[in-house]
Amino acid sequence: MSIKCLDLTHTYQIKSPLEQEALKNINLTLEDGKYIAIVGHTGSGKSTLVEHFNGLLFPTSGEVHIDDYISNNKKRKNKKELLKLREKVGLVFQFPEYQLFEETVLKDVMFGPKNFKVDIETAKNRAIEALRQVGLDDSYFERSPFELSGGEKRRVAIAGILAMEPKILVLDEPTAGLDPLGAKEILNLLKRLHESGKTIILVTHDMDIVLNEVEDVVLLKDGQLIRHADHIKIFEENLEDLSLEVPVSYKFITSLNEHGYHLDVKDSKDVLKLAKSIKEEIDSWRR
């Protein structure tokens, strides 16, 4: 189950004065089972790209292959196939808390599976499991989603997609606007999901997440693909030119290395580990 973009181009409001080319000739293959980040400055086309993955948008030209589903601008959309695609690729929108509408949290999470013709009993079981996965216990099930805090709402919304049991989970800036602890919880959840075998595609412009969480990175700028590489190699690019902030820990290690250290960037994930490897390096000099 991989996603392939072939010369994918998307133009918004084509043939109008407000025409805007949001994606330009993207060629890209996202492999199965990976944890992938899509990064870029605001307006670089990240959301536009991921909305092609579950058939919300269709290419203006070029193609997107999602498994055996081919999305282009010609084919008449078969609504059954499209529904199947949306079940396979779960997309969590940016600020997904705005999509809640049911009376109770449980009902809202069941909404997705029910739309995909899952029977009520199974939908309920899936919803309960998804809510537990995002760390919301029984006491939340019968509450109204509108009385929850922002972070809790977001977790309900994510559970709403998880309950659809998608093979690929796409999240558009899931940590935006959350407090650091709430963000950490969501990232931990994603890590667990990835370890259990799900493909995770995460849209973000937080380079700390890129450094510490993901495997592969797709770097976009002004609708063009700059690079698709390993999450460490991506830092070879001049990120500041792309209006992205290089993490402090990464700067710290590279500047130590410029001064003669031999530290591994992979150690920057954890301050404790980093301190230890610095200590080891100094010890090795003393010897």
């Binding site: 919300l56 705005y98 999509q99 809640l100 997705g112």
Partner: protein, 286 residues
């Protein structure tokens, strides 16, 4: 959604765009009056309206108002057109001399058909001139213009400024709400909602899934906006200056005089009951 974009402001910098909104509102009213003036007979009406229509088309081309979206308005009116045709054919009131065709004992008169065509043409031109105004004038300028016309009423404590403010806020949020609706629709589509197909029951559920989040976020937005305005000490009664001053230019005078001239001429034709074709020596037209 297409019908909502009808007559939306389209940014260009043609001379029509740059005209004073107050003057454009006045010209719209003048032209509306001209369009609805009853003339001597069908041929006079169609002749005069036709000329006005062509002039407006040329103006549309100059100001980049899309002809396509004007034609789309016809599609939105199809029911009205059908209805008018039917009423006029079934209940002929306006002169019944020329039979177009008969179905058994029932006669369909040319007058009935022409009468409904006349009404449709007028409605169509009404949409045309309104679109000319809304497509070339920023909504905010439009409300400034309206406020200016309402301001004499301030003397009798008519809340002209408040009304203008409410209108301009509402206009300001139309695109925002459209974007928001679009986003929610996409989010719900990701959860398997099909907004286009499905049974009545499913459509109902789909609409609920759109409307409720839209309401929640609109209430939130309006509260935030009200708070932000209050935090800045907004007082509708305060005397305020304006960043963009409305100015009446020479071009405004010219276009006002043109519109007034067109209206006066058509009123003259109407009041004097002039048969245009008779002026050219062609008599006996319908």
């Amino acid at each position: 959604m297409a019908s909502l974009t009808l007559g939306r402001y389209v940014p260009y910098s043609s001379f029509v765009h740059r005209l004073d909104p107050r003057q454009k509102i006045m010209s719209l009213i003048l032209l509306m009056v001209a369009i609805f003036m009853p003339l001597y007979n069908f041929s006079s009406t169609f002749f005069v309206m036709g000329i006005l229509f062509i002039l407006l088309l040329i103006l549309m081309a100059f100001s980049h108002v899309s002809l396509l979206s004007l034609l789309k308005s016809l599609r939105a009116m199809w029911f009205l057109i059908l209805f008018l045709m039917l009423i006029n054919v079934l209940v002929p009131i306006y002169g019944t001399e020329h039979i177009a065709f008969s179905i058994g004992n029932f006669h369909v008169y040319w007058e009935s058909i022409l009468q409904s065509l006349k009404i449709i043409f007028r409605l169509f031109m009404m949409i045309q001139v309104t679109m000319m105004l809304t497509a070339t004038t920023k909504p905010l300028d439009l409300t400034y213009g309206l406020e200016w016309y309402m301001s004499p009423l301030k003397i009798i404590r008519f809340p002209a400024h408040e009304i203008a403010m409410v209108i301009s806020i509402a206009l300001r949020f139309i695109p925002t709400l459209l974007d928001e609706a679009n986003r929610i629709m996409k989010a719900q589509a990701s959860r398997g909602v099909d907004f286009k197909h499905g049974s009545i029951k499913m459509k109902f559920k789909a609409v609920i899934a759109l409307i409720i989040p839209l309401f929640v976020s609109s209430f939130q937005r309006s509260e935030e906006l009200a708070n932000a305005m209050e935090a800045r000490n907004y007082d509708p009664r305060a005397k305020r200056s304006r960043y963009h001053l409305l100015r009446f230019h020479f071009l405004d005078l010219v276009s006002f005089l043109l519109c007034a001239g067109v209206m006066s001429f058509i009123i003259y034709l109407s009041v004097a009951n002039i048969d245009i074709f008779a002026q050219f020596g062609v008599y006996g037209t319908w």
